[in-house]
Symmetry: C2
Subunit: 329 residues, 2 copies
């Protein structure tokens, strides 16, 4: 059994990405910039109205694992696809980037999950997800040997939208902690935090070593008046909190330490999908190699800057080479 | 029944596009720049070795129909997908771009066809196609009412790789001619011409009004020593011959007329997949609006230039607006 730097657990999804305009988002009734869960009928209805798009493997945590592999990290992924074409695409892409992925596909049942990603000209993305097979992820899908060999397990807050996945989340955290590893989570989405605020607060206080959240999410978690208030409240609740602020960069707090890292300069921002996922990839790459928190965050900023300059939520460039070029070896 | 400017018949395929290097192509044993037909096992074997990619609706003729719709032309497509996820993606994308597509999906049988597209850093594409459901296209799939209402029918030479599709090709040409429309074809690929040279020569001499071919294809058709020799041989064989020459532009011959059109200036060339398909889209858009052959070719050059500056074989920009900007209203 190999030693894994990072094991990710998340909703295995194939993204269907299309360019739209604000009027289309408004007419759809979805909150711009959010992720809305929908059933199969609603996903089909939206898809019928959507422009032509491209398909690419997605899923927040899986995107992070792709970035982590591109940086040279050794990772494994746990998530649920169906035994269909999109499931085959998802599995191929995870393995092709060098991330182990051996969770068996669901045989029959709902199809592989889809995330309909609507990108507006301002580079914002509005997502509409039909979880499909992803929502069948349950504790029985956890590969305990893999988790026991992980330095860090990373999970997405979206898992909290399904009770069985939430249970898998808790069990994975326990396995990893018992084996001496660390547990990290991203809050995923402001509305997701709204849906599960009490559970998230309990989790952060009791079980999380490394927390990722953007400004909206951390303010929602603590129902805080502003960023500074949220920052004050999260301090000391977990070993490390990484708060990302889009073009304002990121703040990392750990005990008495605080690092403010500027965003990487970018050219045209095309599609912000995956920015947070890639920040986490870069940060955790540095973290699992015992780099300083400041350097971890700077690697995260480089990875996030790369992904927002093209369509799609996974890196198009070789992140390892990019980081070397931007930050030195 | 609407009046169609253009009805396309082709192999309905979903492209799986990945970036590779020359060493990967060489190790695969495929001729760089060519399209090779493979069975399901060979496609699976190559896919397992391929890098992570993106999926997008493809198929040479369907790409042309996408460009034609983006220019504002009224089109319909005839081709065969299966009743699976890739088939759903293909149908959605045709309809979303405004092209009618009502050929029933095959129920059971082989899956929707896939074209594995390997793009090298020099922007060349090498394709490996498993036709799947596309190869079940047969005369019974032709919608005669649609064909009788077409100004022009456009078909891809790749159809010649399957006897039933070749038969559908011949029947469609007859239906369109009987109704007073015109018949156009693209030779598709030099190796495809090699495989079916006699049939293609007979077709061009007897049934084709508008021929599209690149330099390799037209030289292969006439086993010509050079471009000028091929040009001399094709003159008079069909009403219009459009010969594309990549960065050297295009030559259009029709009776005594000859137009030499320069390639549109481009920035970085990223992926040449679909250049010929989009030239045909632009040319046929002008042709079905009775524009001069020179202007038809210039619209083709603008459409081709757009598609080679990004990944994927269909336009990313609004071609109608682009042509207006480049060539005037």
């Amino acid at each position: 059994m190999p030693q894994y730097d990072l094991v990710g657990i998340g909703n295995a999804l194939v993204d269907v990405v299309a360019q739209t305009d604000d009027a289309f988002i408004a007419a759809s009734g979805f909150a711009k910039g959010s992720m809305t869960l929908v059933d199969a009928a609603a996903a089909d209805a939206l898809y019928r109205r959507m422009p032509a798009g491209i398909e690419a493997s997605g899923g927040s945590c899986a995107n992070t694992m792709a970035g982590f592999a591109s940086l040279g990290g050794r990772g494994a992924y746990i998530g649920k696809v169906s035994d269909d074409q999109f499931g085959g695409v998802f599995r191929h892409d995870m393995r092709a980037i060098g991330c182990d992925f051996d969770t068996p596909a669901a045989d029959g049942g709902p199809p592989t999950g889809r995330c309909l990603v609507l990108v507006t000209p301002d580079a914002q993305r509005t997502m509409c997800t039909h979880l499909g097979a992803a929502c069948t992820l349950a504790p029985g899908d956890l590969d305990r040997a893999v988790l026991r060999n992980a330095k860090v397990v990373y999970m997405e807050g979206y898992l909290f939208d399904q009770p069985a996945a939430q249970q898998a989340f808790a069990e994975a955290a326990e396995i990893v902690h018992d084996a001496g590893g660390e547990v990290s989570v991203t809050l995923s989405d402001g509305f997701c935090v709204d849906r599960h605020r009490a559970a998230f607060r309990h989790l952060v206080e009791e079980h999380i070593d490394i927390l990722f959240a953007n400004e909206v999410e951390i303010r929602s978690l603590y129902q805080a008046d502003g960023f500074d208030d949220a920052l004050r409240q999260v301090r000391g609740q977990c070993r490390v909190a990484c708060l990302t602020r889009s073009e304002k960069g990121a703040v990392v707090v750990s005990g008495e330490e605080m690092h403010i890292v500027e965003a990487e300069p970018v050219g045209a921002v095309i599609d912000t999908t995956g920015a947070g996922d890639q920040f986490a990839a870069g940060f955790l790459y540095g973290y699992t190699r015992n780099m300083s928190l400041d350097r971890c965050a700077r690697i995260g900023a480089v990875a996030a800057a790369e992904v927002i300059q093209h369509y799609g939520a996974r890196p198009a460039a070789d992140l390892r080479a990019l980081v070397k070029q931007k930050l030195g070896a």
